[in-house]
Subunit: 439 residues, 4 copies
């Protein structure tokens, strides 16, 4: 165990149990943040050099040291563990061990309070970019299936009861549109977080003319969180907004997983999952279970739990409190796991086999009742009267076919007027933004 940065040479280390309680998991969580912390530290070094607090030699040495640390961390030769009080201290300890006095200068003008804010914001923004890209990838995979098999008729359900004829393409294009919405939410949240907290120190600034604007620019951020109280008050709030965007995507994944779980029952038998997405039972030789789909359905809860966990910390006066550390684990863990579940989305979309015959056969005569009522309304009967007339004669739809019903579904966005090009345009616009300035 290294001496904590705030300990004097002679001071006693706190009780080992207490230190374990304080630091243990936090250091492990800091692994996910470490690359972001190193990156922010590198920007801070540049800023210190520009205001003359570091000379060029020290600055270059520190930058090289930080690059080496990032490299060793990536390779696994440097392990962030309970030797260190936290990831922030580890950076200073590493640089000091390697570079001596230059290392002892790196923390000039900053506090772990703004250091963790900078690392978390960098992690959040990177995660939101991944979220944007992943939801777009799911949408694209869905639209590819729409192109291939979109016109196959299937029942449209409400209340899990057969309602009107629909198509495989309408189902999947709807999900695609949902995921594009999610991508836009992720991007909007990314933009909302486009401000640098680095340089607010412990929450009250410092007596140095820090080049905060330059540091922000190096971190790809377009403005400053000016005030340290505001920077601290954003702790948790930023995380909740990022998880709100993640949750939106996971809720759509949950809906899709529910559809598949239902449609892959023997009773529906509308879809079949590939072997790679099913498992067996330890007791029952006949089982073939859709575990992957079920765990995708169960991916949202981690996000919901993390939001509550973070918010439950946030009943505090202004300024930093150690309680805030307890917002880190749920944020990093939920984001990591949520993105992992979404990452399997395109694989699942591509892997599902559609049983078009079963689907078409499930469209029965009652399901034309709405068409008939609307036709009568268009022809002049007041709708409510047409509705009641057909209700008492609901199965009398002789000769109608799903295809005819679908061809007449001309309301904008419906089967006969899907305007999918508008959805593709939104998707492409966002993809091109990601490609050019995504960071």
């Amino acid at each position: 165990v290294t001496r904590a940065v705030w300990q004097s040479a002679e001071s006693e280390s706190p009780d080992a149990d207490v230190m374990a309680f304080l630091a243990g998991e936090d250091v492990v969580m800091d692994r996910a943040l470490f690359v972001h912390d190193i990156r922010a530290t590198r920007a801070h070094v540049g800023g210190l050099m520009r205001i003359g607090v570091l000379n060029a030699n020290d600055a270059r040495a520190l930058e090289a040291g930080l690059d080496a640390l990032a490299d060793e961390h990536a390779k696994g030769t440097f392990v962030l563990d309970a030797r260190f009080e936290d990831g922030h201290s580890a950076i200073e300890a590493y640089l000091t061990a390697k570079l001596g006095d230059a290392g002892k200068r790196v923390h000039t003008g900053r506090s772990r309070n703004d250091q963790v804010l900078a690392a978390l914001r960098s992690f959040a923004r990177a995660s939101l970019e991944t979220l944007t890209a992943t939801t777009l990838a799911i949408a694209r995979a869905l639209l590819a299936r729409v192109d291939a098999i979109g016109s196959a008729p299937m029942p449209g359900y409400t209340h899990l009861q057969r309602a009107v004829p629909s198509t495989v393409g309408y189902w999947l294009a709807g999900l695609a549109e949902s995921f594009v919405d999610d991508a836009e939410l992720a991007r909007a949240t990314w933009s909302w977080l486009d401000a640098s907290p680095l340089g607010t120190a412990a929450g009250y600034g410092v007596n140095l003319p820090l080049d905060r604007d330059g540091v922000a620019r190096d971190l790809g951020l377009s403005r400053l969180v000016l005030n340290g109280v505001a920077a601290q008050n954003a702790r948790g709030k930023a995380e909740l907004a990022a998880l709100n965007a993640l949750g939106a995507a996971l809720l759509d994944l949950r809906r899709f997983a529910w559809d598949l779980s239902l449609f892959t029952t023997e009773e529906f038998a509308f879809v079949r999952l590939p072997d790679a997405l099913t498992t067996g039972s330890s007791l029952m030789p006949n089982k073939r279970n859709p575990d992957v789909v079920e765990l995708m359905r169960a991916a949202y809860p981690r996000c919901a739990g993390a939001q509550v966990e973070i918010a439950s910390v946030l009943s505090l006066p202004s300024g930093y409190h150690r309680d805030l550390q307890a917002t880190k684990a749920p944020f990093v863990d939920a984001m990591t796991k949520g993105l992992a579940a979404l990452a399997l989305g395109p694989l699942v979309v591509r892997g599902v086999t559609i049983n078009a015959e079963k689907m078409r056969a499930a469209i029965n005569a009652d399901m034309y009742a709405t068409d008939r009522a609307v036709e009568a309304a268009a022809a002049g009967t007041p709708f409510r009267e047409a509705y009641r007339a057909i209700k008492s004669d609901v199965g009398n739809a002789s000769g109608r076919t799903p295809e005819e019903s679908l061809a007449a579904r001309v309301s904008p966005g419906a089967h006969a007027a899907p305007r999918t090009e508008e959805l593709r345009a939104r998707l492409d616009a966002l993809a091109s933004v990601l490609a050019t300035n995504g960071n």
Copy 2:
């Protein structure tokens, strides 16, 4: 009790207990949505006329009927209650009673499924506008206090322990910046919801060439939710995003309320609340309690609970399910109460009396230690060495004053370089957007 829209003349009414379970509170909740439902219905009528499903006379009669209904509802002469299955049915029932066949035509080409989505989106957007305006008003009230008394020194705290000298203005400006962040989040969420679900019917469109684009335009929305599956999947997700924005503001209100609760203790005695914001005890004649501030601190929980309540519903396959009704009450109730708590914000900001002497007196000599360490670092001592040297001599700060410490705090955003004009520019930009196109 009126007959449900879907009941035929001869059909038995469901059991009264069952109907109460199904409808009771929902109809009451629909009161908050009613004006939005009427507005969306008016737009739908215009659309039906443009495609020839309604003639001009019927359309004009329906529009007048809807205006009359809105008026009666506002005056309280029309009461939405358990006579009706829900607010949607009440509109059709009212119009049919008043206008006969024209009323029976109003529901042509739509379903309560898209009707409630339209009303909810309109309510959400209006609420987000109010949220934007209210958080800006709080920020403005805070900045007015900053202008008036901002330079008064007070301790800056971390961990509730005295850290470094700060000012009243720095504290309040930080809160102002937080509320401007919140206003921007509210606005971004409003923009994300800028799409019309009306015309997706029960989730699968209809066999009519509805003028959805025109209807959207009349509702102040710039594009369509194209696909009905996407429209249904957005149920709950939209509400969660709106509550995420509300929650951000309420979390800042909670921080501010905590500060006041703490600062108004006799031990701190930094601020005094006006009589209008305190109450007494039923038992203890000496008490003067900050109840208003405490209930502002307790305003966030309703929002947190509502988010969990809504999300807890959202484990469903695609399409409409009656379960979704259970997302309505928490959304409407949490939004209404959260906005009410925020609305008192400016009153509280303006009402607080600052005890500048007490605050200044709480700044002790130890609190200059950071200044001294950073000064030494700027002069060449490696920061960590300077830190350790001062740690063992922490009280030796003879002659330093809060004012000198604050004058030297030149890092951007800190006391001596607050750049408040940048914050005001963000505030003014958003206020001017609200004024011009805020619907």
Copy 3:
């Protein structure tokens, strides 16, 4: 608006908006607590008389006044509304208006702080009794169906995939056992709350030798919450425990509702709901929707949200804070609505029609694979080898019938050894406790 109990004659009323914020909904919520508050006040009056603070005449007058108030409240001639600061003040105001000085004596030695604790505890205990009785009633209704149609074979599912033959009775008896578990949890929670907070005053006792033990006895409580700090710290914690018990029952209701929602699809068609439990669509004449079942499925979320809402308040130092008022509405509302949803349980259990033919037909040959593997294991083949052998020959189950499979299911609790009498014994034991000392 009446003057608040703590206001002096000359004091200004707080701002009307502020008073509305403070009191508005709370007074409405107090309606559900009012009968409990009156009951606890009556017990307090008895205690004051026994220690000589009230003479017998005053005590009798107050008791009669409280009975009259309860009566008027029940009849609706006394309405608890925003004229009063809260329900507690309303009682004193009513008694003072009616009885003069005697009314001004009723609050001697207590505070609204312990008064609300007493009323909430009484409400919680009564609710838990209802919860116990209702879950037992559901269990009894389920067991009646088991007796009637229990032996009908149906597929047993895991992962929504057909697993092994089972029966309708096994499904319903399992749910019955779950609801008996829930009843026992409700009762255990009731017992945990068997202590009286009344007499802790504002949290620090009073300078009177209150007969707290006698008051507790009159309230049907067997011991005291001794310490006022403990009494305050239980606020919210008691509510969370009661909602934990409610939630357990609602989660089982949710499972049952999911089963019915699934089994009533046309694809499964295992059950049919009676007309009284279904509704129609405003657009689609053919629809017959299981709305009641869906809203039962959606009853748990209110409870989940309330738990989070209450817990979100509970980050406070010891002692009373006005924040705690914000725990009242979610508790009362969630409990009331949750019990209402459960109350429909027996109706639904009795109303469902079983389609035994459809169920039996869904048992296919693969589903005997487990029987075959276990048979081979019992005959000496290592189980894992038997499992693998049958896995590659899974459909080869010629001649087996569901009835044979079920007759051989002899593990304790399974179809051929259900030991339902043990479950009935638990049910009866609890019912008899309720009948005798259920307060």
Copy 4:
């Protein structure tokens, strides 16, 4: 990676990414459950021997093998990792590798579905015992401080405002009573979980006359979960009840931590934390921060988040679904961390130094107003009139002392009649139950 138990020799392994998604963290979580799984497996082996499915030699070999595995796992020579699909499979794989056919027999008549239920229940019960013991230990530590320094006067607060004179002992005894309540809740929950799910197999029993009663007895459980549907429906519900008990204790820990956080500010300065419970700042040499107390305050959120995460999974039809795996990590993690935070409780209670002078000095003359009003009421003035009279003369309490006020506080449970022996009796009764039959 070992072959999954359900895979045939020839079958392809699922995609590696997919397997990682399915198994990764679950296997790690199973580490905490492993000892419980081994224990339950040992009981299962005994049961199989008694019904003749295993001969005595095989049974003895398996028991020895399980003991060896437990031992290797404890020593770290056997590591549960991603080589195995889950902990359950690892046991069979280990035994088969070591013992051949005997190992392949161990899974006869059970499924991973009931195996995980058994392990989870064993973990839950053991955790609830620890919770009971830990909360009692905190209560005992608090009462020891009451004995030592209990009579020191301090202000009693409501709304964080000074209310009436109180004592250190009253504050700490109140917390002790709260923790005894928590211990009783933990114990009641432990009793509610006193039933064995082992032997319900995949949820439908098996065609073997398993000795479930004997197995339950060996596991220290007094009855069976009879029905497999009930066993599955208890998944998550049992976890939520256990976390409800944990949460109650953590909420009291939170209250206590808040008290300390407040009382250790320089403004209150009522208590001082020992060096072992404070840390420093990376930037500010003067800081001495109560991080341990702050993290104790922040321990509840993990529990709150876990409850929501688990409940968010539980919207499923009856029977096992892979989704349920997602309830495991939050349960095990929240329980482990919550117990760790509580375990530091006695250390903190013992470590706090009380500044009795500061506390006594904070009692001002206004705080006798309640005593005076109640005295007047006892002497015959209607209480509300006495209250109002004193309200206008609140500071006029010449000559009163805290000691006199406290000596007169004779309501049962208050300072002059604490009846602490009743609390000690509850504490001792529970401790003695734990000592004798605490499993």
